[in-house]
């Protein structure tokens, strides 16, 4: 069984500070209106009583990537280590992947007139570094790992995250603990 590199999102540690999202833009030099990693507020009453908790999402590097299946130009590549890469030079900006991805990951860049998405900073990984978002997280709430090694203590989804089974998302979550309001 091949490796499946993916992100672990620890919503128990995530404080919703957006550093990951900004570091990603900084490293990947993205247009102001493009974000490859986004911090979402989990709906406040998801767990009964209101609270403020967050999750940080980027590409889920799916086992069956809908983007790759829909792409007419084979611009997407699923690497042996599981990372889904978008080859910009092959992209013709047809937007089929934008339609197909259940997680809104590929984004159409109006200036480049092409699509782009998180590639798990594979060139940083290949150099032995962490992805920009991972290394910038002040609370170590995101990390990257071969998700085949993870057990059941890691959830495949959190409330608000679309069905991970559609495309076999490899993102794994650590559930937030919920504050008790006295």
């Amino acid at each position: 069984m091949g490796r499946k590199m993916g992100f672990v999102v620890d919503s128990n540690r995530c404080i919703g500070c957006h550093s990951c999202s900004m570091a990603c833009k900084n490293y990947n030099q993205l247009n102001p209106d493009i974000t490859w990693r986004t911090v979402y507020d989990i709906k406040e009453d998801t767990y009964g009583q209101p609270t403020r908790i967050t999750m940080s999402l980027a590409c889920n590097h799916c086992d069956i990537p809908a983007c790759k299946e829909a792409c007419p130009t084979n611009a997407y590549e699923k690497r042996e280590d599981g990372i889904v890469i978008h080859h910009e030079e092959r992209c013709i900006g047809c937007g089929m992947c934008v339609y197909a991805c259940p997680y809104n990951v590929p984004q159409f860049d109006k200036e480049k007139k092409k699509v782009g998405k998180c590639h798990l900073c594979y060139e940083r990984l290949d150099n032995g570094q962490s992805p920009a978002c991972v290394s910038s997280c002040p609370t170590q709430a995101i990390y990257h790992i071969d998700t085949t090694s993870l057990g059941d203590e890691f959830a495949k989804s959190l409330p608000g995250f679309p069905d991970p089974e559609i495309t076999k998302s490899t993102t794994r979550f650590i559930k937030p603990s919920i504050v008790r309001k006295l």
Binding site: Q29, N31, P32, D109, E111, K112
Partner: protein
């Protein structure tokens, strides 16, 4: 038209061009506010217009007829477009057009820098003033045109000049001037935009240099 141009030598043509680009550079260097200077500049532009049939008489007329009483408005307008302190309405930097970051000192700026270095030129205040400021790009073109008369490596300089025009200034000047045209409040700044566009377009794509 050919007739007119045939009346001057190649060397004179280069020198004319160099001076015209120097004028454009001086405009963006914020130096053309003295009425006397402006008067002389207008004469040169009129001749240049006549020589190459650039159809910019109307624009030159606007500049000519701009009187001192309105000059302040022109200056404030100019500042809002290119100087500050507000968010610039028409940033005069290449990278803010060609780089998707819309910031200064991007790859485009450094590429312009390396062009300058090829001609043993650098920005006075390198690292402080972005190399791709339009005044510097225009001045660089004026310098190369000037060099065409001074040096023997004609082909090399010509190639550099053409490449610079087509790879740099030519790539963003229209977008910049469109912005000027859209944002400028005074006819004065709009007239300059017309003049600059005509003059640069004349030389884009090897039209007149070779």
């Amino acid at each position: 038209m050919m007739n007119l141009q045939s009346q001057i030598s190649k060397e004179e043509a280069y020198e004319w061009k160099s001076k015209v680009y120097s004028i454009l550079a001086a405009y963006y260097h914020n130096q053309l506010w003295n009425p006397k200077d402006l008067e002389a500049v207008v004469k040169v532009l009129e001749d240049y217009n006549h020589l190459y049939q650039l159809k910019m008489e109307d624009a030159i007329e606007v500049i000519k007829s701009t009187n001192l009483r309105h000059e302040e408005d022109c200056k404030f307008d100019f500042n809002k477009l290119f100087i500050g302190p507000y968010k610039l309405l028409a940033p005069p930097y290449e990278s803010t057009y060609l780089n998707h970051d819309k910031l200064l000192m991007r790859a485009e700026t450094l590429s312009v820098r390396s062009f300058y270095e090829k001609a043993n030129i650098q920005v006075d205040g390198k690292g402080q003033i972005p190399d791709d400021h339009i005044a510097l790009e225009l001045e660089f073109i004026a310098f190369l045109l000037h060099q065409l008369n001074q040096e023997n490596e004609l082909t090399a300089i010509k190639a550099l000049l053409e490449e610079f025009l087509n790879e740099h200034l030519g790539k963003w000047i229209d977008e910049h001037l469109d912005l000027v045209n859209k944002q400028a409040k005074t006819d004065y700044c709009k007239a300059w935009a017309i003049i600059i566009r005509r003059i640069i377009h004349l030389d884009l794509n090897r039209m007149t240099i070779s």
